[in-house]
Amino acid sequence: MRSASQWCARALRRQPLLPVWLVLVLALSGLYGEFGTVANFRNIAIQASPLIIAAVGATFVIMTAGIDLSVGSMLFLAAAIESSWALASAPAGVVFAAIAATGLLMGLVNGVAVALTRVPALIVTLASMQVFRGAGGHITGQQNIDLPAHLRGIGTSSLLGVPAPVLLAAATALGGVLVFGRTVFGRYLQAVGSNRAAALNAGLPVRAVTIGAYALAGVLAALASLTQTARLGAVQPSIGDGYELTVITAVVLGGTSLFGGRGSITGTVLGALVLTTAQTGLVFSGASPYVFDIVRGGILLVAVIAAGTRWRTLAQALRPAAVS
């Protein structure tokens, strides 16, 4: 009994967002009959998928005390590359490889610029945000490009009843948790994020870790793009416009510190789910779309205050156990 309550307290301390999300889901299910259906949860999961994938990538970057404003532009440039290969009617495998390579390249550009120059990450990614979007515009000519059926497959197909976007998001989340918690890279990431100078003094490969985090974010942005365009069925110039703030909101909501070192992939996933659930709930309620911004801001505020409060009161009791 005692261990169970302890476990609960610990889970709550680690994921204060979990009860927030559960309350949200229960309240909406109570209010709207059609909300609490399997089909609707499936919808929410599909809709949250691209955000989860992109936000997991951003979590790695933010963990290094960096920031990536270029995520929306990366989505667009990856989609642009996809459309150009699609126009050349390349097979799906080739297109996917091209997209992944684009993502890796974009992430490396960001990572190398952040790690090897002393330009703040905010400025590097502010610049690359412009460059990537401009390059995407060149490739698409700002046209809407319909994707052929074999590239839309990811958006609509499913395996054992689980939609492909959800599978991709789940795999990303699981991979993220493993990389973060079980690998040397993950440990270095936390070390670099919490104290860069100490990490340097300890002889850790600080630059390589930083580059790795941005590269990972690039690849995941490309994967998010692939998922999103497959769902949309088309590549449009507005893809990813303003996405950086949504992604950062999901990450911050999940409890990752913008000063680096502290954060969680599970939290980010929950953050993305809370945002998507709230948005779906608003469509069900038929409220003005402007209310969504207010609700989103309110949830963010409540969540960070809750997280902060729990952190203070429970930290002393539980901190020794939580040291990783």
Binding site: E34, T156, D241
Partner: protein, 334 residues
């Protein structure tokens, strides 16, 4: 200590010069033409997408025919940037006339008064400008009429089968979106066969259109018709239908009745593939032609009359497709 700094700055200078000249090479040509005293027209767009590209081509075609030069700027949906760009065009590039698609019909007013103060003809296209007295000429679509034309398609179809309609709405801050919505709803008022069961705002965002359509289909499974206020939201709507297992071609009993506005390449293709029932096409070519002829009149010292034109859209549906599609801009060369 000074040497590395010097090298650094030289490198920076070289790098920026390289970047700027590399991409600026296209600029050189028009720069050298300046001596020939060609008339230059400054164009300021709110953003660039498929329909704007078509409008851009229409303007380019009409200016080439008239023998004018064009300078394009795009404001990326930022009214302050648009105002700055217009200021640059008037005061530094010294253009002879302006063609503007306003990001905001009211906030463009200060640009209009600047143009007036400098005697630069100001032509507004596509989106109406509030300050009607001070502009030279305006040609826009008629969003209310386009909404009504769309509604007429629904009323027609409703005669054979009652329709429960999902209505997507563009950005609530855009007069074109509001006009289309209002025209549509007004024309449907009192029709016994057509009921709007759900209204979903999209903020002109394809992802929001996709999610909103999915959610609405989830909430109201009996929806059997969707009004899509712009062609570029069509792929989103069709993806949502496909995900819900509701995508079927025109004529199939499970088909969801679809009407869009714009008439771009995707819309035309969907008409040809018989997945779309009707598309209200915007007369984009007219915008370019009439804008340029307005400029020619104004530069000749005369005033343009009438100074405001609203062009109705052209209803393209499955019945008249064969005869009408040649007049729709999106069907060109497809």
């Amino acid at each position: 200590m000074h040497a590395p700094t010097f090298i650094r700055w030289t490198a920076a200078l070289a790098a920026s010069a390289l970047v700027l000249t590399g991409c600026g090479s296209s600029q050189k040509a028009s720069g050298s033409d300046g001596s020939a005293k060609k008339i230059t027209i400054g164009v300021s767009f709110d953003l660039l997408n498929a329909i704007r590209q078509a409008e851009k081509s229409a303007i380019e075609k009409a200016t080439t025919e008239a023998g004018y030069e064009v300078v394009f700027t795009v404001a990326d949906k930022d009214p302050q940037k648009q105002s700055s760009q217009i200021q640059d065009l008037i005061q530094t590039r010294k253009v002879d006339a302006l063609i503007v698609i306003a990001q905001d019909g009211q906030q463009i007013a200060s640009s209009v008064s600047l143009a007036k103060a400098r005697n630069v003809p100001f032509i507004a296209i596509d989106r109406a400008v509030a300050d009607q007295q001070n502009i030279t000429f305006q040609i826009t679509g008629d969003p209310v009429a386009d909404g009504k034309l769309s509604a007429a398609e629904f009323v027609d179809a409703g005669k054979t089968k009652p329709l429960k309609v999902l209505e997507l709405v563009g950005a609530l801050t855009d007069q074109n979106a509001i006009g289309r919505r209002d025209g549509f709803n007004e024309a449907l008022k009192g029709d016994p066969n057509v009921t709007v069961v759900s209204q979903v705002p999209t903020n002109w965002d394809p992802a929001q259109a996709l999610d909103g359509t999915s959610n609405a289909l989830q909430k109201n499974p009996d929806i059997n018709a969707i009004f899509v206020p712009s062609d570029f939201l069509l792929p989103s709507v069709q993806s949502a239908l496909k995900a819900a297992g509701r995508l079927a071609p025109v004529g199939d009993p499970g088909h969801v009745f679809l009407v869009t506005i714009d008439g771009d390449q995707n819309g035309c293709k969907a008409m040809r593939d018989k997945t779309l029932d009707a598309d209200i096409a915007t007369p984009v070519d007219d915008f370019g032609k009439q804008a340029i002829s307005g400029i020619t009149t104004a530069l000749g010292g005369k005033s343009v009359s009438p100074n405001s034109v609203q062009t109705k859209g052209l209803s393209l549906d499955q019945a008249n497709f064969a005869t009408t599609s040649s007049q729709v801009w999106g069907c060109d060369g497809a």
